[in-house]
């Protein structure tokens, strides 16, 4: 295993790091340019760049160590990614009870169903070299869908507290009072993936297709495979967005049909957990 790692650290890794430095310099130049327009993202950008580099090198090292690991190892890596994705998405669902668990279950449901389906269809092999990168793409998109759905739902509900409570005061089921916001949240989570599918091949040729062609695969098959992947990403996003919104809807109300998700409502109206 260590020999494998040392083998991988040689070769083009130093070249890659030099190329990464070039990319970072270009990115920093843009950040400096942004500063001239009073857009101050230096700190956030530097942290993101540093995190991204460290995370990707770490993932590379882990993959190099585990390249010949079993399916179980691959599943554990994907599980770890799902937990990290849930923690990231949950930040967008601030003020919402149980956001971390909601995000975890929605991302796990979306990506789990799709990865299992791809393995069953033979479009995804169970070796770590393929399972983890493709799986991570699906998890990342499910995470974005979950975060977008959560953010939209929270924003819509907190902007319509009066309307929702007017419905509750008339004896409506809580689910009825937030139905329009569930609809818009799920739609908002799907829209970027729908646009992605529409522009596929016209505006962009995704990385997987490019990689397959570089590796000598038929461009036609690479195109079809990329289409399958984007459709699966849309599917995973749909499931994640739906599950996240439905679970958050449940968490938005108490067992006595009281709206507990109230954002920055006046202190007099702040939510209190039922005793």
């Amino acid at each position: 295993m260590i020999a494998d790692l040392l083998n991988h650290l040689g070769g083009n890794v130093p070249v890659g790091l030099a190329q990464a430095a070039g990319a970072i310099v270009l990115c920093l130049a843009v950040i400096v340019l942004c500063r001239r327009f009073a857009v101050r993202v230096e700190r956030e950008a530097l942290v993101s760049i540093a995190r991204g580099l460290v995370q990707m090198v770490a993932v590379g090292i882990v993959l190099a160590l585990l390249l010949h690991g079993s399916l179980l190892v691959g599943v554990l890596i994907l599980l770890g990614m799902t937990i990290a994705a849930a923690a990231t998405a949950a930040r967008r669902a601030r003020n919402m009870q149980g956001a971390l668990l909601v995000c975890f279950w929605s991302i796990a449901a979306g990506s789990g169903v799709v990865i299992a389906a791809m393995i069953a269809m033979g479009t995804l092999q169970t070796n770590i070299a393929m399972l983890v990168p493709v799986g991570s793409m699906i998890i990342a998109n499910a995470m974005n869908a979950c975060a977008q759905a959560a953010e939209r739902f929270r924003a819509d509900v907190t902007a319509h507290v009066g309307q929702i409570e007017a419905g509750l005061a008339l004896g409506a089921d809580p689910a009825v009072t937030v139905a329009p916001y569930v609809q818009s949240a799920v739609y908002a989570s799907l829209l970027p993936r729908l646009d992605m599918l529409k522009s596929l091949g016209l505006v962009w040729i995704p990385g997987v297709m490019a990689g397959m062609m570089v590796s000598g695969a038929s461009p036609v098959y690479a195109g079809i495979y990329q289409f399958i992947l984007v459709v699966m990403i849309l599917t995973a996003s749909g499931i994640a967005g739906l599950v996240a919104t439905v679970l958050l809807r449940t968490h938005a109300f108490s067992s006595a049909a009281q709206l507990t998700l109230r954002g920055n409502a006046p202190a007099g109206l702040a939510a209190v957990q039922q005793t």
């Binding site: 419905g167 008339l170 089921d173 209190v272």
Partner: protein, 254 residues
């Protein structure tokens, strides 16, 4: 209380058209007393309402007055169970309201909010909303009768975006009445209206409340309004009950 399930199966001729769910020969609503016992609510370590005990008799109109932040709206929201008491309880005809399903409770104790918060669509759809939540269809003639009663004849097909503030509040009152509540909670229902609309809405509410003998709690920052409407007035200060009694006495003393 005559249940909606029972009255929905009755022929239309036996119903009071403006008060769906009620029998026409009943002059008043079913009597309902509202009683709070040591009602309290604390949120985010802030005491919003502290140990308020009051009994509102059937058919009585109680005004709740007090400075901003005194707990007036909190008191009303607790009566409708839009918020949960952190202490004490509310009794409806002696029954702890926690034993009543919240959705049933809210149809029995109707609430008109400070802002009308109408739902997108027509006036008729808004009026029919409450009954539709129980699977009941409010007949067109009952919608028309309710709108007549609130002074908006022929408004059924109007889009809510074409209504003035006063008209929207009248629709909101009709929408609450469509549930045929036994008690009415009014949260500063005229505070967003101009003077002419205020008196119109006041007259309308007084007329409806008196003809139905509905137990009513009105929150108002306007003492003159309390004097015009309420049998008794309760003064809240910093979440505590500062005074309660006949309106003329309480307002004179404070």
């Amino acid at each position: 209380m005559a249940s909606l399930a029972m009255t929905d199966s009755l022929p239309d001729s036996t119903r009071d058209a403006a008060f769906p769910g009620r029998l026409a020969h009943h002059a008043t609503t079913d009597s309902l007393s509202l009683e709070t016992r040591h009602l309290s609510r604390t949120a985010a370590s802030k005491v919003l309402l502290d140990d308020v005990s009051v009994c509102i008799e059937p058919g009585e109109i109680l005004a709740v007055v007090g400075p901003s932040g005194a707990g007036k709206s909190t008191f009303l929201r607790l009566l409708n169970r839009l918020d949960e008491p952190t202490g004490g309880s509310v009794l409806l005809n002696g029954q702890d309201y926690r034993s009543i399903p919240p959705r049933t409770l809210r149809t029995r104790v109707g609430m008109v909010m400070q802002m009308p918060y109408l739902f997108p669509g027509t006036v008729a759809a808004n009026v029919a909303f409450g009954p539709s939540q129980r699977g009941a269809t409010l007949p067109a003639e009952q919608i028309a009768a309710l709108l007549d009663r609130v002074g908006l004849p022929e408004y059924q097909n109007r889009d809510i975006h074409t209504l003035s503030g006063g008209e929207a509040q009248r629709v909101s009152i009709a929408r609450t009445l469509a549930n045929a509540p036994d008690a009415l909670l009014l949260d500063e229902p005229t505070s967003a209206l101009d003077e002419a609309s205020i008196r119109g809405i006041e007259d309308l509410l007084l007329g409806i409340v008196h003809e139905r003998q509905m137990t009513t709690v009105i929150v108002t920052h306007n003492r003159a309004q309390a004097a015009r409407i309420a049998d008794r007035t309760m003064v809240l200060q910093a979440g505590r009950l500062a005074a309660i009694g006949p309106t003329s006495e309480v307002l004179h003393d404070c």
